[in-house]
Amino acid sequence: YNYFNGKPRWSRAIPTTLTYAFSPNCMASNLKLSDIRLVFRRAFSRWSAVIPVNFTEAETYGFSDIKIGFYTGDHDDGEPFDGVLGVLAHGFSPESGKLHLDAAETWALDFESEKSRVAVDLESVATHEIGHVLGLAHSFDKESVMYPSLKPREKKMDLKVDDIEGIQQLYGSNPNFNIKTLSQSDTSSNHG
């Protein structure tokens, strides 16, 4: 695992709750908001299971800590999206809270109903970008969620030991987290 320069993290006292909200004007055209909310709730819960940080959806976008939106092309943050595939999303380091996804992608909730060969798993990308928003940079452990690339129609949403150790170095461990609850596949490719 790796960190951004200066190892930034959300600086408030731990345990804490971070709020998130979806841009009312910038959403994926092929998905329902209720489905997107469900996916992000699951993605946030993967991180909150391992660190003493909770996430709750805010009522007001402007006052939320984490601002999520789907954008096309140049969206005024200096990192324009590039259409189908290529760059899928980006998340800013703490405490910016910006989490942007490329609206041009064929975002998938599941690959049973979404048959496109260029479909991208939303939950996998959401989990990865939340890692950036919390302070993790890219990991080069191929099995980790924080690995930089993701093939179309691939799922990679379960945190691995590398991801967990990295985020717990920043925020400490959730007192209810037990590493023994990880499946063997979550541990075997890392430090064992």
Binding site: H90, S93, P94, H132, K142, P148
Partner: protein, 115 residues
């Protein structure tokens, strides 16, 4: 005699994961010391994701020493065999869809907090 790299069609078996970087396949097996039409796009990719310094020349189509160093750096980071050449494993990795956050995070990285 094989056709020049810059004009060779993609092999029929190639699976292009990417609509944004599909032309990278034509640089397969490219190595230092030659001119490859369009390889400046690949240099921009390496620059964007932190493997080639912003101050390095990126506009030319020469596969020069700096670019070879960048390719080797990329291969080392990604756990690929370090050859400094654009071998098939390296090209395959480069054509995968990915996160837009830089891999090496220089001091001037835009993803640092802005106040």
């Amino acid at each position: 005699r094989t056709a020049p790299l810059s004009s060779s069609p993609e092999p029929a078996t190639t699976i292009n994961h990417n609509s944004t970087w599909p032309n990278f396949q034509k640089f397969l097996d490219a190595s230092k010391g030659r001119h490859f039409s369009g390889i400046s796009e690949l240099k921009k990719y390496m620059q964007r994701f932190g493997y080639l310094q912003v101050t390095d020349t990126t506009s030319g189509d020469e596969f020069d020493e700096r670019f070879e160093f960048a390719v080797a750096r990329y291969q080392r980071k990604l756990g690929l065999t370090v050859t400094g050449k654009l071998d098939s494993d390296t090209i395959s990795e480069m054509t995968l869809p990915r996160c837009g956050v830089s891999d090496t995070l220089p001091t001037s990285n835009l993803h640092a907090v802005r106040h």
